[in-house]
């Protein structure tokens, strides 16, 4: 699968510790929230990159293996996201969202995470426009529907909800916290 990312790092053929040394350097140059694809052939890199991401606050999205190349996807962590933020006045919790999805009422669920995050697992039927592209693409949304906006922790979806409200959409609801706590069905690309 081809996943849109902000940067691709080629660490193929490199032995431990170089894949991590290079990833660390590359991620330092990214903005928080940006996604990197690390290509490696060292089998040990999968376990190490997960453990490293955990210890440094990066967000490990997943790994796919294609033609003996491991592609690891990481999103640069940001402290802001871990803080309690809910500036948009209308929010819904995950249980209530689940009931809405299972109910008859027609809703739009908008997932504003990065393409790689979406690819490694999203709620079935969710529409995907990442936060960075919302400005250009918000017109793709069905403005008649109630629009429920989701991300990983509720931070980006809060920003997206406010952005959509400014564009004149009136029924925008932020889902809190987000995919990090979602227990329902998941679909992968």
């Amino acid at each position: 699968m081809a996943i849109k990312v902000n940067q691709v790092l080629d660490a193929k053929g490199l032995a431990c510790p170089m894949p991590i040394v290079k990833t660390r350097k590359a991620i330092n140059e990214l903005e928080p929230g940006q996604v990197i694809e690390v290509q490696a052939t060292d089998k040990g890199s999968t376990a190490d990159i997960q453990a490293w991401a955990k210890s440094t606050g990066q967000h490990y999205l997943g790994t796919v293996e294609e033609d003996h190349v491991l592609k690891h996807y990481l999103r640069k962590g940001s402290l802001d996201e871990e803080k309690e933020v809910a500036k948009h006045p209308y929010t819904i919790d995950l249980d209530s969202l689940r009931k809405k999805i299972e109910g008859d009422e027609k809703i739009t669920l908008l997932d504003v995470r990065e393409p790689a995050e979406f690819a490694f697992g999203h709620i079935p039927g969710a529409q995907h426009i990442s936060l960075g592209e919302l400005e250009e693409r918000f017109e793709e949304l069905n403005q008649e529907d109630d629009i429920y906006v989701i991300c990983r922790t509720g931070h980006r979806s809060d920003m997206a909800s406010r952005q959509l409200t400014e564009k004149g959409l009136s029924q925008v609801i932020n889902v809190v916290p987000g995919m990090s706590e979602w227990q329902g069905a998941i679909e992968k690309e």
Binding site: P17, K43, A47
Partner: protein
């Protein structure tokens, strides 16, 4: 000062001698918790290399200043990287383990455990990193290899240096914890070597072999060192022991120094419990208590004596080994079928490889053999204090 290297062999000698050695293992913590270097004199700590890329300062206070420190990782690259950083930080006696845990897991240390009165010797090849024991019986220019690991060069080089011809190759059973080198060794030597396997363990194998059965003794060398197979099922249905020169009992994975074999690795624990009990409490009971038990595994360094050998007399084991003290059959059944330790890494795949059904490359073989062997019932994770 600069970074120095330590080979697996140098490390093996330190472990066997019980020498003091401080080790910094920089693999990730899951791997460290799973398996690591152990030894009487070993003090070991873990800090993953990726936590040390920014610098080693936060770790420096946990490290001794005035003695050698060995850095260890999976393959030797990260330990070297971190070792250099420690040297830069002012540590003077830093060593990196060449080839890392991969090399350690593949190192075999030959230990002479017997010299026979009428010539000949028995060597135990100790695979310290994995707890596997294989044997070479030597007499009059001939040799027999028992439970060979896949590092067949080691046996061939050993034989070559001593001008020995390897004539007989035995597997006591179809192994589930490591890839057997028996067949590969026989193929490498050619027609002059014969590979024996118990037929009851060989029902699904895809290659030809000579059946290893009770009543067909083998004589190694002119001086007639007798190798007598004894059918001893329980770990597998075909498990066969050997009595060598009426003095040594090679028990395979049936009886270890501090524990007994587990019956569940072929998925037939309940069915094989009775066999295991019969072998341990009847067949072995009838043998001479003077026999020196030489197992195919060890789980703890406490099973090793000061020379690096893992052995004990049968009489001693009937007194001390917990697995031989359970006189109630039901208690025994429970002990060997319930609360067993985790099964060895990739044991199903390893059995397939040993049957000849699956032919992985060398990297895949290493991957399959990762971690401790866990063929014994009493496996406890012991942390070095």
């Amino acid at each position: 000062m600069s970074l120095k290297r330590m080979t697996s062999q140098e490390l093996a000698h330190k472990v066997i001698n019980g020498d003091r050695l401080f080790i910094l293992d920089v693999r990730n913590t899951d791997e460290f918790d799973h398996w690591r270097i152990e030894g009487k004199g070993i003090e070991i700590i873990n800090e993953p290399y990726f936590n040390l890329l920014e610098g080693v300062d936060h770790l420096a206070k946990s490290l001794p200043k005035d003695e050698p420190i060995l850095t260890v990782c999976a393959k030797g690259g990260s330990s070297e990287f971190i070792g250099e950083q420690l040297v830069d930080a002012g540590f003077e006696q830093i060593y990196s383990l060449e080839g890392g845990m991969k090399a350690w897991s593949e190192h075999l240390e030959p230990v002479k455990i017997a010299s026979f009165d009428h010539g000949g010797a028995l060597y135990q090849f100790v695979r310290l990193g994995k707890g596997c024991l294989s044997y070479m019986l030597v007499s009059d220019g001939q040799a027999a290899v028992i439970d060979a690991t896949r590092m067949i060069d080691v046996y061939q080089d050993f034989a070559k240096k001593r001008s020995l011809t390897i004539k007989y190759i035995f597997d006591t059973h179809l192994h589930a914890d490591h890839i057997s080198g028996g067949r590969a060794l026989a193929e490498a030597i050619g027609a002059s070597a014969t590979y024996y396997l118990p037929p009851k363990d060989a029902e699904e194998v895809t290659y030809s072999y000579e059946p290893l059965v009770e009543g067909h003794n083998v004589v190694v060398g002119q001086s007639k060192i007798n190798v007598q197979p004894i059918y001893s099922p329980g770990h597998t249905i075909g498990s066969t022991s050997f009595v060598i020169d009426d003095k040594y009992l090679l028990t395979g994975d049936i009886l270890f120094v501090e524990s007994i074999g587990r019956p569940d690795l072929a998925g037939k624990a309940e069915a094989w419990v009775a066999d295991l009990r019969e072998t341990l409490y009847n067949t072995y009971q009838q043998l001479s208590k003077e026999l020196i038990v030489c197992p195919a595994h060890f789980s703890h360094m406490s099973e090793m004596d000061g020379t690096g050998a893992v052995k004990a007399t049968l009489g001693e084991l009937f007194k001390k080994n917990e697995g031989l003290q359970v006189h109630d059959e039901e208690t025994f059944r429970k002990m060997v079928t319930e609360n067993l330790p985790p099964q060895p890494n990739a044991y199903m795949d390893i059995r397939q490889v040993n049957m000849g059904k699956h032919k992985p490359n060398i990297e895949q073989q290493r991957e399959m053999e990762m971690g401790p062997n866990r063929c014994a019932v009493h496996y406890k994770l012991r942390r070095m204090e």
